[in-house]
Point group: D3
């Protein structure tokens, strides 16, 4: 039997989809309204799922408080109330699509989590669109 | 790391569960209220998840607008505000259980999606019941 | 200070919007897809709110179990898994719009509730559309 | 008995809280992270509620399709995927707090709605914060 | 035009419905499973709505951060992860029904809020039952 | 193509996290507020997913009514409105963390389900924390 624990979090950010190697016309055609030069924004909702053995003394896979603190340090403090394109190192040269944001978050958390855990995240860009990363 | 993109959609339809090879008594016993001869209905909520490589130029697994349009053409235009038993080819001879509706939708989308993608869908018949298909 | 207690319930039904005094053309033009002759359907979600004094012995405005039973008898047993146009007395000659369904439910509950209570209902036809009745 | 019909909609936008009559220090102290010079953003969820008499021929207070179109023209086309501070006339000189955005939306819709209707809106800035306007 | 700002919060608590003036038989008959001597519990979800004039300098009815802090101090710190019957002064001699909990919260917040504000709260005991207080 | 059917259920319970082999200090340090000696509680939301072949005669993986009844008998009747530590056999000597509760539920259901089915459950302790078990 495989067990995982999940914790939800959220952050609010501005972004713009843009490929600087392309013309303005191509950017507008491919990214549509998401290419608006003055940015738009989202409430990003994040679910982080950590799978692993249950500790027999605590009954925990991971202490949810530790997971909550890890998400705060690695994700919320970094991206909340930021302009992803202008205010963050991660998206200076990486297009902040939901896929790329999710992959960046997955890697940031993966580096800090003990190797015994499997990690999966889900990132909602809107209530109707989300991305999942697992590895 | 495996990445997928998901899009939510919905359609409202009438249906009746019925097996024409069975007696009325057996249909009533097996399908209960869902066998009502005059039909009942649901708001079907659909989540379509497409997994595959992230395109390095766009940062997309798939353009969500393309996915939204595909769901509209293949699912919403076909089933929204319809009587599944009477108004659709797919359920003329197939009992429109949530399982069968989900399998039909999965096949309709699978035929139109590039082979490089994996496809998974979730179909809510009510807020308390849903079916998932993956392949 | 005014206090109310609310209880959620739900039923699934088929319906068709139609005015028998109108031509088919006018019905199609005014009601669009909702005029489909073979019906479509919805998961109707209902919230019933009852306001009144708090009983000092129980600490209740109304026993939620009694309210739940009342909704079951008056609403769910009457409309769940039914075709509103064909299977119910209430909508034989009344167009089953969300407004009319809500008004009928309000009256059915109002008749059974003690006069000391104020009654308000909210009826979701879909997650995006709802009607409220208060009196 | 009072009846209202409600419709949900949404738009995604960037904004910054700022009072140009104040020093940078005061803006930072009062508006905190929401004063970020490079903007942040939200998925704004909007519920528009219209109360009035039920038309005896249609069974409608208002045709929800008309209400949906009105919200699209007056709200979504104007604010979706925009930077509220930079891209809109309404917030060039008005701080785009949730209160002010809601009041602007209420006035835009009020001007277009027939006088016989009462209008109420709810605007979610996040899942945890919302504003209501009624008049 | 009337404007209000709302903030959501939550706390998790154990409770038991019991009237010490009644026999065990009457308590069991009236309160059913909620009378379990060893308690049961809920995730209480709270929405606090504050109505008043919009400050022309800030664009706020009330700073949501102040409202969040007030809810934390007056409600969450007092009731979160507590046994309402045993661990709180408020329900030592008051039956902790949803109605009574909501009324207590309303009074606690009312005392701390400026008189210019109107106050309304909604307390969910479960996703299907909630109480509203307004005054 | 793999198909599963899911059903949601819920129960409300009190619990306390505690390891009787540890000192009070260690219990307080590790479990924090969840170690409150007088218990606290939650609305537990459960999703049970059953995967298997679709029966060609019924169009069902499993009759959702049977699944609903199974969850009622094995889970709701056992845990609803109970103190998990005091009122249940399962948690007399097992710390009722979300992980342990989910594992117990998974085993209770697994024993009653036909071997041809795969079983997966998700248990929400709060709206922000959940555990998944699959085997």
């Amino acid at each position: 039997m495989n067990i995982s624990v999940s914790r939800k979090a959220h952050f609010n950010a501005a972004h713009r989809l843009h490929n600087s190697n392309w013309s303005d016309e191509k950017n507008a055609r491919v990214f549509g309204k998401c290419n608006n030069p003055n940015y738009h924004g989202h409430n990003y909702n994040l679910t982080v799922s950590v799978a692993g053995p249950v500790d027999s003394e605590t009954g925990y896979v991971i202490d949810v408080k530790d997971l909550k603190d890890l998400i705060k340090t690695e994700v919320e403090d970094r991206f909340d109330h930021k302009n992803l394109n202008l205010d963050t190192e991660e998206f200076k040269n990486l297009n902040p699509t939901a896929e790329n944001i999710a992959a960046v978050i997955w890697k940031l958390l993966r580096e800090k989590l003990d190797e015994r855990y499997n990690l999966k995240i889900r990132l909602y860009e809107t209530e109707r669109n989300f991305v999942e990363c697992e590895g």
